[in-house]
Symmetry: C4
Subunit: 257 residues, 4 copies
Amino acid sequence: MSETYIHIFEKPKKLKNPILIEGLPGIGNVGRAAAGYLVNKMKAKKIAEMYSPHFLPLIVVNEKSMAHLLKSEFFLIKGKTNDFIVLIGDFQSTTSDGYYEISGKILDFAIQLGVKQIVTLGGMATGKIEKEPKIYGVVNDEKLIKKLKKYGINFKPHVPETIVGISGILVGLAKIKGIPAFSLMAETPGFPFMLADPIAADSMLRILIDMFGFDVDLTDLEKEVKELEEKIKKAEEIHKQMLQKISEERKDLEYIG
Amino acid sequence: MSETYIHIFEKPKKLKNPILIEGLPGIGNVGRAAAGYLVNKMKAKKIAEMYSPHFLPLIVVNEKSMAHLLKSEFFLIKGKTNDFIVLIGDFQSTTSDGYYEISGKILDFAIQLGVKQIVTLGGMATGKIEKEPKIYGVVNDEKLIKKLKKYGINFKPHVPETIVGISGILVGLAKIKGIPAFSLMAETPGFPFMLADPIAADSMLRILIDMFGFDVDLTDLEKEVKELEEKIKKAEEIHKQMLQKISEERKDLEYIG
Amino acid sequence: MSETYIHIFEKPKKLKNPILIEGLPGIGNVGRAAAGYLVNKMKAKKIAEMYSPHFLPLIVVNEKSMAHLLKSEFFLIKGKTNDFIVLIGDFQSTTSDGYYEISGKILDFAIQLGVKQIVTLGGMATGKIEKEPKIYGVVNDEKLIKKLKKYGINFKPHVPETIVGISGILVGLAKIKGIPAFSLMAETPGFPFMLADPIAADSMLRILIDMFGFDVDLTDLEKEVKELEEKIKKAEEIHKQMLQKISEERKDLEYIG
Amino acid sequence: MSETYIHIFEKPKKLKNPILIEGLPGIGNVGRAAAGYLVNKMKAKKIAEMYSPHFLPLIVVNEKSMAHLLKSEFFLIKGKTNDFIVLIGDFQSTTSDGYYEISGKILDFAIQLGVKQIVTLGGMATGKIEKEPKIYGVVNDEKLIKKLKKYGINFKPHVPETIVGISGILVGLAKIKGIPAFSLMAETPGFPFMLADPIAADSMLRILIDMFGFDVDLTDLEKEVKELEEKIKKAEEIHKQMLQKISEERKDLEYIG
């Protein structure tokens, strides 16, 4: 596998004005937590998985001794006026150019599915705890702003100043292909020990429910985010151990890295 | 997006002996400032944008909450005996081999447009402030020297000793393809705090105006270069912050970089 | 050579339900020692070699002044109900994405040969010496577990938590292609000075003999593993020296790595 | 330019059993000095140049203000029973996988020219000054040894233990393609300040003259090697400066390198 690869289980037919919602790992794992909760609570159907040589070179073993490559997953949620493709995953990229390759593959798949709009979700580190974290919007088409303001999304010049990673690049690449896209960035403390922020995820989900009419109850969110945080904590420890192991084994090799 | 990509808005027809002028970021941002001033003052028309996985993996958010990938831009300036394609941009390359890939793509596009000559602009660090910075020439065809000397361009053995980056490689690759090309290098202090040097840009522009007959008034140059410097300062701060953020998030990953 | 390349000497015909057994270098070199012993004792026939730009950029000189690129080798062992393709080699990968490319090439070759099952062998560092090291199993298909338990293979949730490198990725990628695969991980101290662990290799081989009916006597194992360890020790020293040499020569180049 | 590229000026016809002699930069620059002396003294004709994204991303400016990309050059020397293609150059590779890509391209070109044998030249660091440096041989075909011993080439088990870089990989890859190849390694002190070793180059040239019947006088060798050393010294200084410059400009970028 020399490049990022999307394995399609079943290509959905006749999608209604589909919208892609991306929630990959990032600051406070806000996007991942919000998108993951949607997928779980709405029992969304998995339609494809994405693998990449830009992910960590390892498999994770689960409680049933089953091996899994790191991956991202595309789920389908059917709606009334729109269908939704929700992208969640384990990892972004180990390399700088990998972000572009992966974002390009996601976009190609979205175009193949006839996606009409792209929404990317993320966190924005503020360094302090907010009781009601605000959501800021960034768009690739000025026309989107007016509509988004109605849902309480905030717009402020240069806020955030940049968006690093797939959440950002996807919105930028979509513009070249003529697909309207926007990024929703939730305020989150960005403290290193707070791996997943349930309050920011709550703010994010309220907006998504309001905007897209998802029939989702937020009662279990805090519990689920805590479970997610446990998983992430474990994953981070594993990564750390593995990387240390690789590091030790390869210490000498690094000279020619 | 696995490789550098040029998105063409409108392919210009019947260009008159077109000349490519490259002014990307570099020492003292002399080329960027001079080429950017030309583009602004002559209200040049944008004909294409270039994106690359070798750029930083982020989008920049502007004052209108619009997202932009880092990019380079090709502008068209119509002239009497020659038309000009002016290339300006945000970034060169994050990787060593990226410089070659990007330069190759620029050259392919130039050949596609029928470009007959290539001029690259840059700064040459001298470590001191010159009242009237000299411009040194480097060519890929000895015949060019005589003609260039008439415009006051200086030629001195091994000065500069090398040209790093796209300004250099473009001139070198053009030779293989049989396209005459030269690089103009302006003396500039090269102090880290002087992000854009208006005096060197002024010297550079005087020569370009003399050589190519651009109808440009230099009155606003100092002001515009100051504005450019503010932008660059902000961009550098953003880059630093973002990179630090990536660095913190990825500290462990670096073991296997 | 821009990508991993498998040089096939002779493509075997009419293989009987072939099984691929992978034993590349790793922790305690358990897989390498066990698979290498099988290949030697059963006088297996070499059918292909694999080379890769992700291996160290050097050749090794043997006692007859013959030069050898680093390589992996595929051997054929004919059996009664199954034939076996055994993969052993000198090296895994210098780069993170190389692990994926190399694993992909191995899998493509296995599919070309009609491989019906994949077994990867490795060590699992425990930090202590076990008299009778246990073998843990990790599968890509739950159905395999019941059958494997009969041979005394242990299954425990999240043990090991991850498998780094080709032993892991091969099992993960095989799942996408619908090929049942499992990894056998032997307990081994993982002490840096113990380069090859004969006790773990013994446990591993007993299971392989039991499972696949190999007609192999383990009498010479300890001696052969000691010889292997000498070879590895020498190889590691060479690598260290070479890498230090490269490092010194390239110290300045690292700035732009 | 995304991959190594050989620009052929004139493809030579009807070559007589051509032999490729490689002399790129390396320890003591022995191969480079010996091959370069042959090319100069025999007024060899240049038939091709090689460029690569794995070279440093810069151009070098000469005494006539002409720009040159770093490159390798192929020269033709006509002989009585054999013709010779001599490869000399400025640089090996900035990346580990680049060595393989570049070696592969050289080999493809050699095959295209009908090359029947490959000789690579290099230095072997001994840490002491030898009055009469010995030349050691490493082969990819045992049959070559007997013939080479006649010319006073030494063969000793595991000497050198490895050959790093293009001199080595070319011999290894040639074997896969069925082309006999050998490497000649001259003893050289390997002191960092001795950039080019005229005594080792002298030993190397005496063997090449004896073996291939080159009509070359060695009178000017010491002088030429001193000149070469001056050039290399300058090149190294330039590289150091440039790399430092890149390093300073990119210090922050390195976090995501």
